[in-house]
C-alpha cells in the first residue's frame, strides 16, 4: 500500500478523553481533548467515565473535522487498552469498537505508556533515548532493550504527579495544581528537610506527601512548595542519572504530563550535560494524555499486524509497559 493511511486514536485512561488522527507519514493532523475536572478531590473513576461517554461524539467529530477527513478515510482505529482506570478504559474501548465496526476497519489496542514514549520519539527524532515518563499515574524510567521497553526505575507507591496534585489540593490550590505549586516555589527561600527516598533505581513519594501535608499549617507555603518540588524532582533526576550512566544512552526524553514542569526540565537537562547526553522534552500539547499519541502508536502496531478482533478486544487496567513486545523497534 503506497497511499497515505490515516489512523484514529482514542485515549481515555484517566481524566482525559482524547481523539487524535495520525497519518502514516508521521503527522498528527488533529488532537482534540476534553478533560474531566472533579468538583472536589481527585478523579472519581465512574464520574470520569460518564464524562468520557458524554464528550466522546463531539470530540471525535471535532478531530475528524480539524483533520479535514471523514470516518470513511480512516484505515484503523486505535485505543488505549491500559494501563488506567477500568471504567474510563472501558468507555474508550466501547467507542473504539463501535467506530471499528461501523467503518469495518481494523481495531488496534495500544499500551498508553508506550504511546507516551513513541510520540516523544516521533516529534524529537531521537531514535533510542532513555525515557523519563512522569504523570499523574506513572513514574517510570525506561529504555529499549531486546524487543521491549525495559523498566529501569519506577515509583514504589504513588506517582510523582499524584503526589504533587494531592499536595496542591491540600493547600487548597485550584486545578491544575502543579503550575501553581511551581509559582509558590519560585517565592520560596528556605529549604525544609523532607523525606528523600531512593531505593536502588526506584523512588517513593508517599512519605514525602504525608510529611509535607503535615507541615502545611506550620511552614511558609513558598518554602514548603520549594522543598517539596526540590525533593520530588531531585529523586527523579537521581534515578534518571543512574539509569543514563548504566544504559549509556546518548539522549534523555522527558514525557508525560509532568514533563511540562520547567523546574524538572532544568534538573534533567543538568543531568544530561553532566553525562554528555542530549535532552529532549515532548511539547506541552503532546506531553499530557492525548489521542494523537495513541493514533501514531496504533499505526506502528498496525504495520506489524497487531490488530485485535472486536470480540476479544479486552482492556487491561494493569497492563505493564515491559510486558509489551515492540516489534517496530527491531
Amino acid at each position: 500500500m503506497n497511499s497515505v493511511q490515516y489512523i484514529l486514536g482514542i485515549e481515555s485512561t484517566a481524566h482525559t478523553f482524547g481523539c487524535g488522527i495520525a497519518s502514516s507519514e508521521g503527522k498528527i493532523l488533529s488532537n482534540v481533548k476534553s478533560e474531566y475536572v472533579p468538583a472536589s478531590g481527585g478523579i472519581h473513576p465512574r464520574e470520569a467515565s460518564q464524562h468520557h461517554a458524554a464528550k466522546a461524539a463531539a470530540t471525535i467529530s471535532g478531530a475528524l473535522k480539524e483533520a479535514g477527513l471523514r470516518l470513511n478515510d480512516i484505515a484503523a482505529v486505535a485505543f488505549s487498552a491500559g494501563p488506567g482506570l477500568g471504567p474510563c478504559l472501558r468507555t474508550g474501548a466501547t467507542v473504539a469498537r463501535t467506530l471499528s465496526l461501523v467503518r469495518k476497519c481494523p481495531l488496534v489496542p495500544v499500551n498508553h505508556c508506550i504511546a507516551h514514549i513513541e510520540i516523544g520519539r516521533l516529534v524529537t527524532c531521537e531514535d533510542d533515548p532513555l525515557v523519563v515518563y512522569v504523570s499523574g499515574g506513572n513514574t517510570i524510567i525506561s529504555a529499549y532493550a531486546g524487543g521491549r521497553y525495559r523498566v529501569f526505575g519506577e515509583t514504589l507507591d504513588i506517582a510523582l504527579g499524584n503526589c504533587l496534585d494531592t499536595f496542591a489540593r491540600h493547600l487548597g490550590l485550584p486545578h491544575p495544581g502543579v503550575p501553581k505549586l511551581e509559582q509558590l516555589a519560585d517565592g520560596g527561600k528556605k529549604f525544609i528537610p523532607l523525606p528523600y527516598v531512593v531505593k536502588g533505581q526506584d523512588v517513593s513519594y508517599s512519605g514525602l506527601l504525608t510529611m509535607a501535608s503535615r507541615l502545611a499549617s506550620k511552614c511558609d507555603m513558598g518554602d514548603l512548595s520549594l522543598s517539596l518540588l526540590e525533593v520530588a524532582y531531585g529523586m527523579v533526576a537521581e534515578v534518571a542519572e543512574r539509569a543514563i550512566a548504566h544504559t549509556e544512552k546518548g539522549a534523555l526524553l522527558l514525557t508525560g504530563g509532568v514533563a511540562r514542569s520547567k523546574r524538572l526540565q532544568r534538573a534533567l537537562s543538568f543531568v544530561c550535560s553532566d553525562h554528555s547526553a542530549r535532552f529532549h522534552v515532548v511539547p506541552p500539547d503532546l506531553a499530557g494524555d492525548n489521542g494523537g499519541m495513541i493514533a501514531w502508536t496504533g499505526y506502528l502496531a498496525l504495520k506489524e499486524g497487531l490488530t485485535v478482533p472486536v470480540e476479544s478486544s479486552y482492556v487491561n487496567p494493569n497492563w505493564r509497559l515491559d510486558e509489551v513486545e515492540v516489534p517496530w523497534r527491531r
Partner: protein, 217 residues
C-alpha cells in the same frame, strides 16, 4: 594522602585508587549534584557516606564479605576502603552456563539472607554491586542501605534485585531469580515467606502492575 588515580566515575561518586598506610585502597567521593538544592545535596551525600561506612563494617560481622573501611570523612563525603581488584558480577552473568548461574545466584541469595537476618537491608541490590573475588562474593555500595527488619524493606530489597535482573539480564532473569530465592530461603527459612509474598504485592502496587494478566471486558 598519597597520589590518587581516578578509576571510575559513577553516577553518584568518583572512585580513586590510592594508598592508605601502605595498603592499596580506594577512595570513594560522593560528588556535588548541580540538579539538587545545595542544602538537600549536602544532606543526602553526608548521610549516605556515614550510612555506608557503618553498614559496610556491620555487614562483614554478619558474614557478608565487604571492603574494609579504613577512614571516613563525612564533611567531604569520602570513604577510604580496601580495594577489590576485580570486575563486577554484571560482566559475567551473560556468559555463564546454567549450573554456574544457579550456583552463583543461590550464593547471592544466601548473602542477602544473612544480611536481612542481621537486620540490614542493602537498598541497591544489582549485579554491579556484587564483585566475585578470590572465591567470595563481595557486596559493595551500601549508601542506600538501612537498619531494618521490616517485611516491607526486605521485600523492596528483593524486588530491586529481581528488577535489576529483568532489566540488565533479561535472557536469564527468571532462572537467576529462582536460584536467588532458593538461596535466600535457605538462610531465612520461614521468615522468607511473608517477604516473598510482599515482593509480589510490591509489584502489584499502584504502578499498574499485573501478575496474573487479569483481563476485563
Amino acid at each position: 594522602m598519597a597520589e590518587m588515580r581516578l578509576i571510575k566515575k559513577g553516577a553518584e561518586a568518583e572512585l580513586y585508587l590510592t594508598d592508605w598506610m601502605g595498603l592499596k585502597a580506594v577512595l570513594k567521593r560522593r560528588i556535588k549534584k548541580g540538579y539538587r538544592n545545595p542544602d538537600l545535596d549536602s544532606y543526602v551525600r553526608g548521610s549516605r557516606t556515614s550510612n555506608e561506612a557503618k553498614l559496610l563494617s556491620e555487614a562483614r560481622r554478619l558474614g557478608v564479605p565487604t571492603p574494609v573501611v579504613y577512614s571516613v570523612d563525612k564533611r567531604n563525603c569520602e570513604i577510604v576502603m580496601s580495594y577489590i581488584d576485580a570486575p563486577p558480577l554484571k560482566r559475567f552473568v551473560d556468559g555463564m552456563d546454567p549450573e554456574g548461574l544457579a550456583l552463583t545466584f543461590s550464593r547471592v541469595g544466601e548473602m542477602v539472607g544473612r544480611l536481612h537476618r542481621g537486620g540490614i537491608v542493602h537498598g541497591d541490590l544489582t549485579t554491579s554491586n556484587i564483585i566475585p573475588y578470590s572465591g567470595l562474593l563481595y557486596l559493595i555500595d551500601f549508601g542506600l542501605g538501612e537498619h531494618s527488619s521490616d517485611i516491607e524493606s526486605r521485600g523492596v530489597d528483593i524486588h530491586l534485585m529481581r528488577r535489576a535482573l529483568e532489566s540488565s539480564h533479561h535472557e536469564v532473569s527468571s532462572e537467576a531469580y529462582l536460584s536467588f530465592i532458593e538461596g535466600y530461603r535457605g538462610v531465612m527459612g520461614d521468615l522468607s515467606d511473608p517477604v516473598l509474598r510482599r515482593v509480589d504485592a510490591i509489584r502489584r502496587r499502584g504502578r499498574y502492575v499485573d501478575v496474573n494478566h487479569r483481563k476485563e471486558a
